[in-house]
């Protein structure tokens, strides 16, 4: 058994690409080796900013010989067929064997592929891997044509066992594989030879390179925590930053510093974001005050002054950055304290979408919608409207201009500075949520109203202008918005008729698009008129009626609903239902159960819909449920067949006086009792009670089918029994559409 060591040594690989590159290197090489018949015991991949490394242990020294027999044409077949066979096998006529096969004599090719040395295979596989490596972005350099993420300088490729190791002879674009590598760029730049993976890692460590990114991460994290702890502070966790920083250094040296007192009053989110985004610093918090008071930076080297120069330089850059942040904060506070009017004014000039108006137009729509939604979520309508009007103003602030990820967070601070109550300020922070599937759902009523209005406006807006998501394309994140609505509604048990909210929202968006069209029509007329009076006149004549229509529509506003509204609302609702199915499937609710409930009226009240689905799923999970489903299906099948055959609908007039058996009479009684129980239960949306009442039908239905034959000679009795089956169908249909349930 042999061990393989590969190192691809290059100029600095972007940190964000290293993890995928490790996996790709491992997969491409090991798959390539296995494909041609080598086997191995284990493999591991590593990366630093300057190297991608693969070690494969327990590799077979050569591939097994392969013997393949292929049947060819008959010996009396035309020459063309024989030539084709020779071509495909790569053999000559003399090398073929003739064998008797059933009726005729047939050519056989016996192809022997000898086993190949591992080194030969590795050379091929590695060259192919390098040439086809799936970097997200790659480049050429110098006069070469090879592509790599950054210039590739050397290839180390060693195959060996206990007896020693040898370089695998190979080269790519003039880079010849060898057994040497370089140490740390500054601390130990000399090249050195290695003889095995263990020798490699040990020598790298002596040359100030920590090969394993996991080890570098652990080292950084532990050292940073210890340094913070020693000063009575705590490190703010940031897994993404840790991975990135570990991908920027070969020899991590953790340095901690204090933030200047003149910046400590800045909001912690501002300090954290500025330090992380611009300088890749970790934040260090004072657990007593909760304030961010320090930072941790990770250098790539040790120095004679123990990092004093490096820390001093970093502090200087930090001060410049935080001075900017403080400048933004102080300017923003002036606008905020004056009520944020400047920002509201500024958003009039910012386009949201050229068919949906400005950000200010959008905010006005959201505010109107939030006011309508407020009573449904227990929020004060005035507060919801005001919160929606303020929630996005921070988009014009200097701070959010610099750090877009602080939108909402800054909105909350600025709303508080403007003297708004907590509920309104919190809505500014929370109304974007939930963003991802694991993001928390807001629960304060005002926030819920604004969050719902924001997302519904986005959805109705893009539906109004036909910008729905298609396939994998969803540039406006509409699927996320719909899922957000679903989670807000279900998470807070909100009872809202989605279609009616979407309808007013959609109409409002149509008014907006109408305004924009009217405006552009106006400008066309003016522009053309200036061009030449004659043409301008003609076009004005043509445009006249269109403009009039658009203006009429706008003036009428919501009262005069565009014909497109209702179909688009219906389409949007089915989009919600699709997202809901995905969401509920992840929660373990069967798709047929969801379909059975979606077919019921009130399906745009998602809370009700889910309540029904949960009860139905629980019911179907019970014995009574399964059996009742069977009884229902049997009744429904018999009834449907009879209706088709007879061309009538058996839907009325089952009468106990035509009942001939006890089982029949018992079913009448059970259905009477069931109807009496289910109706009030449904009225109270007590699905559990309705299901329990249905469960009681199971025994009488089973007994009925066992004892009674539906299709009897007596036509009156038969009709009566069919009408009785209809009562089962009608009763069950009050709860859910059982025809959609599988099983």
């Amino acid at each position: 058994m042999s061990d393989l060591l590969i190192e691809l040594f290059s100029e600095e690989i972007p940190a964000r690409m290293q993890a995928a590159a490790r996996e790709n290197l491992k997969k491409l090489v090991t798959d390539g080796l296995v494909e041609v018949g080598l086997t191995y015991e284990s493999a591991g991949a590593f990366s630093t900013p300057r190297r991608l490394v693969l070690t494969v242990q327990g590799l077979t020294p050569e591939s097994k010989p392969v013997r393949e027999e292929r049947k060819g044409p008959r010996t009396d077949a035309p020459q063309a067929a024989l030539d084709g066979f020779l071509r495909s096998t790569g053999l000559t006529l003399e090398q073929l064997e003739k064998r008797a096969d059933k009726k005729a004599e047939v050519f056989f090719a016996v192809i022997e592929k000898p086993g190949r040395k591992a080194a030969e295979i590795i050379a091929e596989v590695l060259e192919r891997t390098i040439r086809t490596f799936p970097w997200p972005k790659s480049m050429r350099w110098g006069s070469g044509s090879l592509r790599w993420v950054r210039p590739l300088h050397s290839i180390l490729c060693l195959l060996g066992d206990e007896g020693g190791a040898e370089v695998v002879p190979m080269s790519v674009d003039g880079i010849v594989a060898g057994n040497t590598t370089g140490g740390h760029r500054f601390m130990a730049p000399a090249r050195f030879a290695v003889s095995s993976f263990d020798d490699y890692t040990a020598k790298l460590r002596r040359a100030f390179v920590m090969l394993d990114s996991a080890e570098r991460e652990a080292h950084i994290w532990n050292d940073a925590q210890n340094q913070a702890f020693a000063r009575g502070l705590e490190l703010v966790p940031d897994a993404g930053l840790l991975t990135e920083v570990a991908g920027l250094v070969e020899w991590p040296v953790v340095l901690m510093g204090a933030i200047g007192a003149e910046f400590l009053h800045l909001p912690p989110e501002v300090l954290q974001t500025s330090m992380r985004e611009h300088q890749k610093f970790f934040s260090v918090r004072n657990p007593k005050s909760g304030r961010i008071e320090g930072f941790v930076t990770v250098a790539n080297r040790e120095t004679a002054d123990n990092g004093a120069t490096i820390l001093k330089g970093n502090l200087k850059v930090l001060s410049a950055r935080l001075s900017d942040a403080r400048f933004f904060w102080e300017n923003d506070l002036r606008v905020a304290k004056a009520g944020m009017g400047d920002w509201a004014e500024g958003l009039k000039a910012v386009t949201f979408h050229n068919k949906l108006g400005s950000q200010a137009d959008r905010i006005a729509r959201i505010a109107a919608l939030a006011r309508e939604i407020a009573p449904l979520v227990g929020a004060d309508p005035d507060q919801a409207e005001r919160a929606a009007g303020l929630a996005k103003l921070d988009l014009r602030s200097a701070m959010v201009g610099e750090f877009p990820e602080l939108q909402g967070t800054m909105g909350r601070y600025y709303a508080l500075e403007a003297g708004e109550p907590e509920a309104i300020a919190n809505a500014a922070r929370d109304h974007y949520s939930p963003l991802g599937p694991s993001d928390a759902v807001p629960s304060e009523p005002v926030s819920v109203a604004v969050a719902l209005a924001d997302k519904i406006d986005t959805l109705t807006g893009f539906w109004a202008i036909d910008e729905k998501p298609t396939g994998s394309k969803d540039p406006f994140a509409l699927r996320r918005a719909a899922l957000g609505v679903i989670r807000l509604v279900l998470g807070n048990g909100v009872r809202v008729t989605l279609s009616s909210v979407a309808r007013t929202g959609m109409n409002r968006c149509f008014v907006e698009t109408g305004k924009i069209i009217a405006k552009s029509l106006e400008s066309i007329t003016i522009g053309e008129a200036a061009d030449g009076a004659e043409n301008g006149g003609n076009i004005a004549e043509l445009l006249g009626p269109i403009r009039e229509k658009v203006f009429r529509q706008n003036a009428a506003g919501i009262a005069d609903e565009p014909p497109a509204t209702l179909p688009k609302v219906a389409d949007l609702l089915s989009f919600f239902h699709d997202r809901l199915k995905v969401f509920l499937r992840d929660q373990g609710i069967r798709h047929d159960v969801i379909d059975a409930c979606l077919a019921m009226p009130g399906n745009d009240d998602l809370t009700l819909l889910v309540k029904r689905a949960e009860a139905l799923q629980a019911f179907l999970g019970s014995d009574d449920g399964t059996n009742l489903l069977q009884g229902f299906k049997r009744a429904n099948n018999i009834l449907t067949q009879a209706e088709q055959k007879d061309g009538v609908e058996y839907s009325f007039g089952a009468d106990p006086k035509f009942a001939e058996t006890d089982e029949e009479r018992a079913l009448f009684a059970a259905l009477d009792a069931g109807e009496a129980a289910i109706k009030p239960a449904m009225a109270q949306e007590d699905f559990a009670a309705a299901m329990a009442a249905m469960a009681k039908l199971r025994a009488p239905i089973d007994a009925f089918f066992t004892a009674v034959q539906i299709n009897t000679e007596n036509a009156i009795v038969r009709r009566n029994r069919l009408n009785l089956l209809h009562r089962i169908r009608a009763l069950v249909a009050q709860v859910a559409d059982f025809t959609k349930v599988e099983g």
């Binding site: 480049m139 004679a304 330089g313 850059v317």
Partner: protein
């Protein structure tokens, strides 16, 4: 590598870079005599990165970014500043080491500082150019841009040029330990007449800030933009055969001058705040179209040809 002493002035840093890159074999050129937004616009970079003739040049380029004017008050922002630019084609295998040597030359002791190559891909939408590389960090501060050109003016760079850009003021402030650019010694502080950066540029920053934001006549700028665009295309439309000299002369450089003009006029219009977000893209597209046409023309010339390369 022996560590150099710390320089004492802005100009000493420039002189040391000149000496260093000159010693490494670069032709030390002078700034281009037109208003440009960055050293990349100098034809010694844009045009000379095309074709397969070897090239090595280094120069200072005064650069103008009208929107960055702060009336001389901001410690690190200027509407007129200096870039130091190096372009070597094909990019040599030891370009990173050559670059680090230049840091040493200006007094940055790499055994005490933390130098890092952090991913930063470069793209110039107005030049139709892009490349991959890094911003180089010194103790957390960006001191240079390091790029391997992949495409310029829509043409693949074969061979690839290596480009280094140093933001001179920022780098010098760091080396000299200065907090406000206007306080930086321009010549040696012990000179008979010591001059600070502010002595030379504070007033011009004020004047140009006012000019860029309020003074420049927008109608004239718009007109000149159109003129430059038309002139660029007109020059390129000439028959290559020159009847006067009897030579084949393509006016790639004069046409490119008009492209540079259009680009700067666009920047001024932008600073005047008369270009809307949607128009912006259209203007950038128009400058890029000119840059591409100039590149197309330059590769037809002797300096820009790919000699001996398969078409």
């Amino acid at each position: 590598m022996p560590v150099s002493t710390t320089p004492r002035s802005f100009q000493e840093i420039i002189l040391r870079l000149m000496t260093y890159w000159g010693a490494k074999g670069c032709a030390v050129l002078q700034p281009y005599d037109m208003e440009v937004g960055a050293g990349t616009f100098h034809p010694a970079t844009t045009l000379r990165s095309l074709g397969n003739k070897p090239w090595a040049a280094a120069y200072v380029q005064p650069s103008r970014r009208p929107t960055d004017g702060r009336y001389g008050e901001n410690p690190n922002r200027l509407q007129h500043y200096y870039q130091y630019q190096v372009l070597i084609k094909p990019s040599p295998p030891d370009l990173q080491d050559l670059y680090l040597g230049s840091l040493n030359a200006i007094g940055i002791d790499t055994s005490l500082h933390d130098i890092r190559f952090v991913e930063d891909d470069w793209e110039s939408p107005t030049l139709g150019a892009w490349g991959l590389g890094w911003e180089v960090w010194c103790d957390g501060m960006e001191v240079s841009q390091f790029t391997y050109f992949q495409q310029v003016g829509g043409h693949d760079c074969k061979p690839v040029s290596g480009e280094l850009t140093y933001g001179l003021e920022r780098l010098a402030m760091y080396v000299l330990g200065i907090d406000h650019v206007m306080d930086m010694p321009f010549n040696d502080p012990d000179s008979p007449i010591p001059l600070k950066y502010g002595d030379i540029f504070r007033q011009t920053e004020e004047e140009y800030s006012r000019h860029n934001f309020d003074g420049a006549t927008t109608e004239m700028l718009l007109r000149h933009f159109e003129d430059a665009e038309a002139e660029c295309e007109r020059l390129l439309a000439f028959d290559p055969e020159d009847p006067n000299s009897g030579k084949r002369i393509i006016m790639a450089h004069p046409a490119y001058d008009q492209c540079i003009k259009a680009s700067h006029l666009f920047n001024l219009l932008d600073a005047r705040g008369v270009i809307s977000v949607t128009e912006r893209q259209a203007y950038i597209g128009r400058v890029r179209a000119l840059a591409k046409k100039c590149a197309d023309a330059f590769v037809q010339t002797e300096a820009g040809a790919s000699v001996g390369a398969a078409a």
